[in-house]
């Protein structure tokens, strides 16, 4: 194991007492608990860890958190658990961690893909738009190559064994970010009794406080570490606060609905991960108030050769030094356009690194920093810029040149030798969530960055997120925001008391001077100054975009892919806008900003889906008799959310044979169907009849108690959308049934009309779909079974006529029996309270046994009804079919209006040649047409297209007629009865058939 030669000390960030070993690209390294992969690799002197997206250039570590653009690795080799594109600067190391560089082959050091770099000049932004336009399909050749070169990491190839979950949470104040501002905001809000959630992206509270020299400040006389401990203890004492670490607020949506993702296990050694805990948890927070304390993001500088490993953000260098005790290099140069970055030079110097120089683009940096640099003997170049860097896989040296008053190069180069270049172009408030919340931004000239200007939702920014950088001011800003938020949520707070924070003269000083695109000593063709380190977007690419007219910021972004990588442009966007502003010769504010889209940082699909996957994706609704069907080896069909027994094949029997057997039993003896899934609605009220008369196409005013009637429902467009039988229980009480799939829709549709169109009607409706289990017993012998079952109803068809119902008892159990039929056979529908459903079914099987009762499934039911020409809404209709199309003129009343009636007389709806519902009989009785087949008029298909005159909606082999039968919708079908049509076949000759009327019982003279 290599030594952590760059580890200086063990500050709060890492636990020097618990060493950790991990592997990177197969090599073993040591680190400490609390390290990120980045800090641990830096401790081991490893800077180059990745390859860029397009040119496959060496990439190192730029930042120290979710801002880093290119330090991406593949975690783990297990095909089910591997994670691509993990950010080394966030990835916490643990014993046994295996990480690999990605987007390189055969190895990180020697990557064939880097030929792209050699050909870089031929591959400017959007090069692919300008070529590969050959003949059709030609592009797909090049596409293959391009796809393979792109794409960063590798997807897992096996299902994810881990689980995820959602948690819903309501609170009064959500504080995002636990830096100085967030901590004080959360503390005062929690003290008010408000429900508070404090979400911190990293494993530790403290934010920037963890990235400064620990001894450089005191708060209320305490050291930073002590103050943080007290504050955390203080917070956890409040009963109504939830402190979430490793939790990123990734989406800020409407009406203060904010989504957070918490990582629970990725930092734990695999052997120690708990199977009972989710890998991630998404907190779906609905909050009254939000405090955005999301801090700021440092920008790199854009100059030729600015992308080598060893070139890092100045603030990140300090974070590695103070939080992780890691020196990012032996000899350092600091390159900046602001005072704040000079601190990095001072801290590095104090930590024992050699600081070769500070290069500042300004001619007059702040007096405090220049004085301090002088006192430390650090050479400072002002009005200067770095024009070139060297070092293949790691920075080795660079050249500096002076800038004249026009910021153009002047004089000769001066070489500086250093393995670390700390750059800073200034800090941008992290306004991503603010912008997602639809707040309005303003470009701040003193910050040279966008900052929150006006809020849209109940939210306020605090601290660096609001452009406040001096620590004392951050505390004050956080306190004020926290107090205001709590008060706005209706909680009284103590008077804000900011901790007395010792002052560093450099605090808050910036004196930043814009430096968006620094001059190069090389000709444009040989200059490459990177803006987006992940997607390899250079300032030249952006200038090219402008040259080619992609001047809108969104066009330039899309043309160059600026900020479209996994970092969503955290460090690159503003620099990009700066370059564009320069090329367009207008201020950045006028250039505008691209949209900050959620999520703030990438979130695993699994976490977004939560626990609602696999077994829990959607409900599987089953009937009270379900277990019996399963025990009998039934096969099922899915109808909406429901599972219905489709047929009951016996051992060694095919599904088709089972269906035939079941249907024969229904026609010759008796058979029973589980019809429990039908929708049922209890309708009550003195205007119930009037209501039914309006929602059904037929007449309901005269239906007597004890009787049933079939009804058809249309939407206002005149198209059939549901049907069913409704029974009159008493003059003001009806029992309405719907299709299985239609139940919920029909009720809400009827409630809609009742509540909004006809509130004057005295009607109440309540769904009783699952109150009743329903068994339908049909067949010539069915009355015997029903008779054997019922205590007190005479099932004799004469005593119990068709389309009537009775209430009675089976072994004392109250039942409703309906004499209705969907099969054309003598048939009884027995309704019992659902708790008796299984028992009833067993009773039917027992009592029916002597009469040869046979359970039959939905397939048989469909077949039997097809023999009688009954429709199934949704199978024989598709939302374009009227009652007339179905030949059901008899069910359309002329006496009164009903929903959809007016549409039936429109010119197209009343055409005589519309598609009619008809029967279709193949010449060859053995051929069963495939459902969905198209009907054509000619014996041969034509070229290039064959006109279609209809299609087949239902098709079966009928045991009753011992031949195939089919139903379909055919143009002017009723006028074609007897005519020859053909059924088109994908493979083979069209099948000749004849059109009949749909009721085969009548057609074959079996009508009862």
């Amino acid at each position: 194991m290599s030594m952590q030669t760059f580890r200086r000390k063990y500050p709060t960030g890492v636990n020097g007492a618990s060493p950790v070993t991990f592997r990177f690209n197969g090599r073993q390294y040591g680190g400490f608990a609390g390290d990120t992969l980045a800090s641990a690799l830096l401790a081991n002197g490893v800077h180059m860890i990745a390859r860029s997206f397009k040119y496959h250039r060496p990439r190192g570590i730029l930042g120290s958190g979710s801002d880093d653009p290119a330090a991406l690795v593949q975690v783990g080799a297990d095909p089910a658990r591997t994670v691509p594109n993990a950010r080394a600067t966030e990835l916490e190391i643990y014993d046994g961690l295996e990480a690999f560089s990605q987007n390189c082959w055969p190895s990180l050091a020697i990557d064939v893909g880097s030929v792209n770099d050699a050909f870089g000049r031929f591959l400017p932004a959007g090069f692919y738009y300008k070529t590969f336009m050959g003949p059709p399909g030609n592009w797909m050749m090049f596409e293959g190559l391009i796809r393979r070169a792109a794409g960063l990491g590798k997807s897992p190839t096996a299902p994810d064994p881990d689980h995820y979950e959602h948690v819903n949470r309501h609170c009064d104040v959500l504080v995002i970010g636990a830096g100085p501002a967030g901590l004080t905001a959360a503390r005062i809000a929690a003290a008010s009794g408000a429900r508070v959630i404090l979400a911190e992206e990293t494993p530790e509270l403290g934010g920037r406080l963890l990235s400064i020299e620990p001894s450089s400040r005191t708060m209320d006389g305490q050291s930073i570490a002590e103050w943080l401990q007290d504050t955390e203890a203080d917070l956890t004492r409040s009963p109504e606060i939830t402190v979430l670490k490793r939790t990123c607020a990734f989406g800020y949506y409407g009406e203060n609905w904010v989504a957070l993702v918490e990582s629970l296990q990725d930092h734990v050694p695999e052997h120690a991960r708990r199977a009972d805990l989710p890998r991630h948890r998404v907190w779906r927070v609905r909050t009254a108030q939000v405090v955005l304390a999301t801090g700021a993001i440092e920008r790199p500088l854009v100059f030729h050769g600015n992308d080598r490993p060893g070139i890092m953000l100045a603030g990140a260098v300090r974070t590695y030094l103070h939080r992780y005790g890691v020196l990012a290099g032996r000899t350092a140069v600091v390159f900046t356009n602001n005072d704040e970055a000079w601190t990095t030079a001072f801290d590095l110097h104090a930590a024992g690194a050699e600081v070769a120089a500070i290069v500042d683009t300004r001619d007059e940096p702040g007096p405090n920093v220049t004085a301090k640099a002088k006192s430390l003997g650090i050479e400072a170049f002002t009005s200067a810029t770095i024009v070139e860097t060297k070092g293949r896989r790691r920075l080795s040296h660079m050249s500096v040149m002076s800038l004249d008053e026009n910021k153009q190069l002047t004089g000769g180069p001066r070489w500086l030798y250093a393995d670390l270049l700390a750059v800073s172009g200034g800090w941008s408030p992290n306004v991503a969530l603010f912008s997602q919340s639809r707040g309005r931004l303003q470009f701040d000239d003193t910050l040279q960055a966008f900052r929150p200007e006006r809020s849209w939702q109940a939210e306020r920014s605090a601290g660096a997120a609001d452009g406040v950088f001096d620590f004392a001011a951050c505390f004050a800003s956080g306190l004020q925001a926290g107090a205001e938020a709590a008060q706005a949520a209706g909680f009284a707070t103590d008077t804000p008391q900011a901790p007395a924070c010792s002052v560093d003269p450099i605090d808050g000083e910036s004196g930043i001077e814009p430096a968006w695109d620094l001059p190069s000593a090389k000709p444009p063709a040989r200059t490459r100054a990177f803006v987006d380190l992940q997607n390899d977007v250079t300032s030249k690419d952006l200038q090219l975009a402008v040259r080619e007219g992609y001047v809108s910021v969104e066009h330039a972004k899309r043309y160059t892919t600026l900020g479209m990588g996994t970092d969503q442009g955290k460090t690159s966007s503003l620099n990009g806008f700066g370059v564009l502003a320069g090329a367009l010769g207008k201020p950045i504010a006028d250039v505008g900003v691209t949209t900050f889209r959620p999520p703030f940082k990438p979130v695993p699909f699994g976490a977004v889906a939560g626990q609602h996957v696999g077994d829990h994706f959607h409900p599987r609704r089953t009937t009270p008799m379900h277990t019996w069907h399963e025990d009998q080896g039934a096969t099922f069909e899915v109808v909406g959310d429901w599972l219905r027994a489709r047929a009951y094949p016996r051992a060694g029997e095919s599904f088709e044979d089972a269906v035939q057997r079941e249907c024969i039993a229904a026609r010759t003896q008796t058979a029973a169907l589980d019809a429990s899934t039908l929708g049922k609605i209890d309708i009550r009220g003195r205007d119930a009849r009037t209501f039914l008369n309006r929602v059904y196409t037929n007449a309901w005013m005269k239906l007597a108690p004890g009787r049933c009637r079939y009804g058809l429902m249309l939407n206002e467009d005149g198209m059939v959308f549901d049907d069913g039988v409704t029974a009159c229980i008493s003059d003001d009480h009806f029992h309405l049934t719907t299709t299985t799939g239609g139940a919920a829709g029909v009720l809400s549709w009827m409630e809609d009309y009742l509540q909004t169109e006809w509130p004057d009607l005295d009607v109440f409706m309540t769904s009783v779909t699952e109150q009743w289990a329903v068994a339908s017993i049909c067949g010539p012998e069915s009355w015997r079974v029903v008779g054997a079952l019922l205590d007190d109803i005479d099932p004799n068809p004469d005593a119990f006529p068709f389309m009537s119902h009775r209430t009675g008892h089976i072994a004392g159990v109250p039942v409703r029996v309906f004499r209705i039929s969907f099969t054309g056979e003598l048939s009884y529908e027995i309704n019992v309270p659902a708790r008796y459903g299984l028992w009833l079914w067993q009773q039917i099987m027992d009592k029916g046994e002597p009469h040869g009762i046979t359970p039959y499934g939905t397939e048989g039911m469909h077949l039997l009804r097809a023999e009688t020409g009954f429709i199934i809404v949704g199978q024989d209709t598709d939302g374009t079919v009227t009652p007339y199309d179905l030949g059901m003129d008899w069910i359309v009343k002329s006496s009164a209006d009903f929903i959809g009636r007016r549409s039936l007389t429109r010119s197209d709806t009343s055409r005589a040649d519309r598609r009619h519902f008809v029967g279709v009989l193949t010449d060859d009785p053995a051929i069963v047409i495939a459902e969905g087949s198209q009907v054509i008029a000619t014996a041969e298909e034509q070229d290039p297209r064959t006109p279609m005159i209809g299609h087949i909606t239902s098709s079966y082999f009928s045991p009753t007629f011992e031949r195939s039968i089919a139903l379909g919708l055919i143009d002017a079908g009723r006028n074609r009865v007897g005519e020859r049509v053909y059924i088109a076949q994908r493979d083979g000759e069209p099948i000749p058939a004849r059109v009949t009327q749909p009721n085969f019982m009548q057609h074959f003279g079996r009508a009862t």
Binding site: Y253, G254, E255, W257, R286, S435, R438, G439, R440, L441, Q442, F443, F450, E453, S552, V553, E554, A589, D590, G592, V593, T594, T595, F596, E716, D717, S748, E751, D752, Y753, Q755, T756, E757, P759, D897, R901, R902, S903, R906, S907
Partner: protein, 116 residues
């Protein structure tokens, strides 16, 4: 995600509701008296405004009532809710001009808003 102020249950999460489209489209009392055009106007034509819009929601998983909501479709700001049959409340001081402060650049409303 909307927090919908049900007139009977108070503000509730959108997932308890189903949507009913434009409000105040009364079903003609005598459809047969209408021309095909007028009938089509009732069945299909919608105002679909960008701005204040009266729409219907059904508290499907709650009280089961249909009711109306006034919402600014340009910002999704919910302005008021009221019971079926009631007239829409007057909304004062409402400006329609790019109500969501549409960005000077950007085709829709979701662009980042910047002070020009």
């Amino acid at each position: 995600m909307f927090l919908i102020p049900c007139p009977f249950c108070g503000p509730r999460d959108q997932s308890e509701f189903s949507y009913g489209g434009e409000a105040h489209i009364a079903r003609p009392t005598e459809p047969e008296a209408l021309s095909d055009e007028d009938w089509a106007n009732f069945v299909f034509m919608r105002s679909n405004p960008k701005g204040v819009f009266a729409e219907r929601w059904h508290h499907t998983a709650g009280c089961g009532k249909w009711f109306n909501v006034l919402r600014n479709t340009a910002t999704d700001e919910v302005l008021a809710s009221y019971k079926t049959g009631e007239p829409p409340p007057a909304v004062a001081g409402f400006q329609l001009a790019t109500p969501s402060g549409e960005p000077p650049i950007g085709s829709g409303n979701d662009g980042t808003k910047v002070v020009p």
